[in-house]
Amino acid sequence: MAHVLSVLLDQDLLTLNRAMGVIRRRNLRVDSLAVGASAVPGAATLTLVVSADAGSIDRLVRQLRKMSGTRRVAAFRSDEGVVRELALLRVRSPAGRHAEVTEVVSLFGGSVVEEGEDELLVQVAGSNAFVLSFIRALEPFGIADLVRSGAVALERGGVAAFL
């Protein structure tokens, strides 16, 4: 089962490095990883999607909690929260096909960020599955480049898992 770990850390590379070491040493499968600013000044949120059993997740949470630099740790199943990521794609689009590509993008609630002569830079945000279907829908046009942000997440109802 995919679990989301949301870890509030001191915002410095050494603390991030230490947290990643704690995670890596447990030899778990990390599907996604994202780091960004949080609501707390001086702290960053590290969001991980980890495929592991509940016991391994619990042990990982407790190891992260005792690390210096950790401010709080929340863990929840991915279906217990809102999990979203952003994708940016450069899609091949000879001048005549811009409208076709744009239509697909709008269908997914995405947007065209930049128009080139024979390509479009587009973005979409959504769940992992949603982003994957978006990518699949654009594949027939040809995808020249693709980046994904990694998932960020908030637990539904929230707070409970925070310590």
């Binding site: 050494l14 490095n17 230490r18 070491g21 407790r62 909690r65 005792k66 210096s68 950790t70 310590l163």
Partner: protein, 559 residues
């Protein structure tokens, strides 16, 4: 009042303020500003080791003996990397250590400068905390944090990496603000259920108390003894829990696990309740966890919430320091005895299989040390067969009188660690017991003992083999003694070369006199014991095996 001082001087001031008596270290390029300042602070006594690994082990030994951080100092690059084994040893055994390393100047970091190494990156998984000091203005606070984090909660090693130009940078110094120690761990509110724990103790037919290093770290000897006496629960001491409960007490059973006595492991396998205090159910204690204590529910008391349920499933977990938790548990439990259960365990006892041939037995050597020192010695052991003999056969009656590398199992630990222990306990005889393999890993430290006048007594159990590996080869690898025969120099002449007393003991008749002369010598001394070459440690649980299946004699040769 504030003074303008260099980073190096601020470092010395903080060390003084933290009550540091000894620094174990070795100078070099990137730490030279510190060594330049050091003579201005004569209360900081520097012990010049012969290898930085020894500095880390000595700091670890000092930390374990006093409960205060031991301090080691090294330069950047190879100086820092030589500390690594010692830091890892301290990390695995929760020993308070502060390691201070010089780093190349800030402008040179990341350019593969001479003697530059990313010691922070290298030590991340083996430190409790670490930092690179970015500016002299934060130096004092980073150091104070390091001392606080090394001892608070579950102790551990902290590394502070200080660039050379920060050591030279001028900054303002002010005395420590009494603003409370910074905390490493987020405060977690824990509700401990003593009532459930007490109910399990009351309901059990076959309860056991298993105690580990946490009892020594929290100074919880009296509480653990009172709990044992109130409930009649027999007491098992893990390798690092040895000397947490007096040997020879009627409730004391001994050491469990891979080389535990048969009656101890049988008691575990028949127990219906284990109350574990300050131990982590390491695999050398449990054997295969799926077969460990199959009938027992476990009540686990530990300071570190991450230990509860880490290795074995726990019925009730209580989080806090061993002293306060045990006191609360004493209040909660009803007085009882366990006479039937204790009688049952007595029936599991076996005579120890003679582990040696010839007349110089490990038992007689250890008895000799105990008799000569009147039981007052602190024993620092190395790793291997002798470590198990020292753990099982020496009668520890003083709290924290047994110091060894348990978790990491670091050969070469005893001799340098004993230097730190001896400096911490100048009035106590300190015996470093090693095999001929481990002794040769750090015997260069005899020079340190001579130069710094640290009278450690060194016993060498010489069997001409890396004995524990040889024993495994004998049992599990068809007696193929690959790379285990090991040559030794003439230790008596080695001692002579260092200008210290050296004795060789070949029969048990010579034991007591050699030990007595070494012990009475004002300086360091070496006593080499020529023991049976193929002596084994019995019983033994095969690696990954269940505690129910001990090997008690040499297995028949395969095929």
């Amino acid at each position: 009042m504030t003074d303008q001082l260099t980073g190096a001087q601020i470092l010395c001031r903080v060390l003084q303020e933290q009550g540091v008596e000894y620094l174990f270290g070795y100078p070099g390029g990137a730490i030279m500003p510190f060594y330049h300042a050091l003579p201005e602070y004569p209360s900081l006594r520097h012990i010049l080791v012969r290898h930085e690994q020894a500095a880390a082990h000595a700091a670890d030994g000092y930390g374990r003996a006093t409960g205060r951080p031991g301090v080691c100092v090294a330069t950047s690059g190879p100086g820092a990397t030589n500390l690594v084994t010692g830091i890892a040893t301290a990390h695995m055994d929760s020993a308070p250590v502060v390691a201070i390393t010089g780093q190349v100047s800030r402008g040179m970091i990341g350019r593969d400068a001479f003697q530059e190494t990313d010691i922070l990156g290298i030590t991340l998984p083996i430190t409790k905390h670490s930092c690179l000091v970015q500016d002299v203005s934060e130096l004092a606070d980073r150091l104070r944090e390091a001392f606080a984090i090394a001892t608070e909660g579950r102790p551990g090693p902290v590394l502070v990496d200080i660039p050379k130009d920060v050591q030279n940078q001028k900054g303002s110094w002010s005395e420590s603000r009494s603003s409370g120690a910074p905390t490493a761990t987020p405060r977690v509110e824990i509700i401990n259920d003593f009532t459930s724990a007490a109910a399990l103790v009351a309901a059990a037919q076959r309860p056991l108390l298993m105690v580990g290093h946490g009892v020594i770290l929290a100074d919880a000897y009296a509480e653990v003894k009172a709990l044992a006496v109130k409930t009649g629960m027999p007491v098992i001491t893990t390798l690092l829990g040895i000397s947490a409960f007096p040997e020879g007490h009627e409730l004391h059973l001994g050491m469990p696990g891979m080389h535990g006595e048969v009656h101890v492991n049988r008691a575990i396998q028949h127990a219906d309740l284990i109350v574990g205090i300050g131990l982590r159910f390491d695999d050398r204690v449990t054997g295969n966890t799926s077969g460990f204590a199959p009938r027992a529910r476990i009540v686990h008391l530990d300071l570190d919430p991450a230990e509860i349920g880490k290795n074995v499933p726990v019925a009730v977990g209580l989080v806090g320091d061993a002293k306060s938790l045990t006191s609360r548990l004493i209040e909660a439990v009803a007085a009882r005895d366990c006479l039937t259960w204790r009688a049952e365990i007595e029936r599991y006892r076996r005579d120890r299989n003679e582990a040696y041939r010839g007349d110089l037995s490990p038992e007689s050597i250890l008895r000799g040390i105990e008799e000569v020192t009147g039981g007052s010695a602190t024993i620092v052991s190395d790793v291997g067969q002798h470590q198990m003999w020292v753990a099982k056969l020496y009668p520890y009656r003083q709290p924290n009188s047994h110091i060894t590398s348990g978790g990491l199992g670091t050969m070469g630990f005893a001799v340098p660690a004993a230097m730190g222990v001896k400096l911490a306990r100048p009035g106590t005889p300190v015996w470093a017991v090693s095999g001929d393999g481990g002794f040769q890993m750090n015997m260069q430290e005899i020079a340190t003992m001579v130069q710094e006048k640290i009278p450690v007594k060194m016993a060498i159990f010489n069997n001409g083999y890396l004995g524990m590996v040889r024993q495994w080869q004998q049992f599990f690898h068809g007696r193929r003694y690959s790379a285990t025969p090991i040559w030794s120099p003439d230790y008596v002449r080695l001692a002579e070369a260092y200008g210290i007393a050296g004795y060789r003991v070949e029969t048990s008749r010579q034991t007591e006199e050699a030990i007595a002369r070494a012990n009475a010598d004002p300086g360091p001394a070496v006593v080499e014991f020529m023991i049976e070459q193929e002596a084994n440690v019995y019983p033994m649980i095969p690696p990954g095996g269940s505690l129910s299946e001990p090997i008690e004699a040499e297995p028949a040769p395969a095929g």
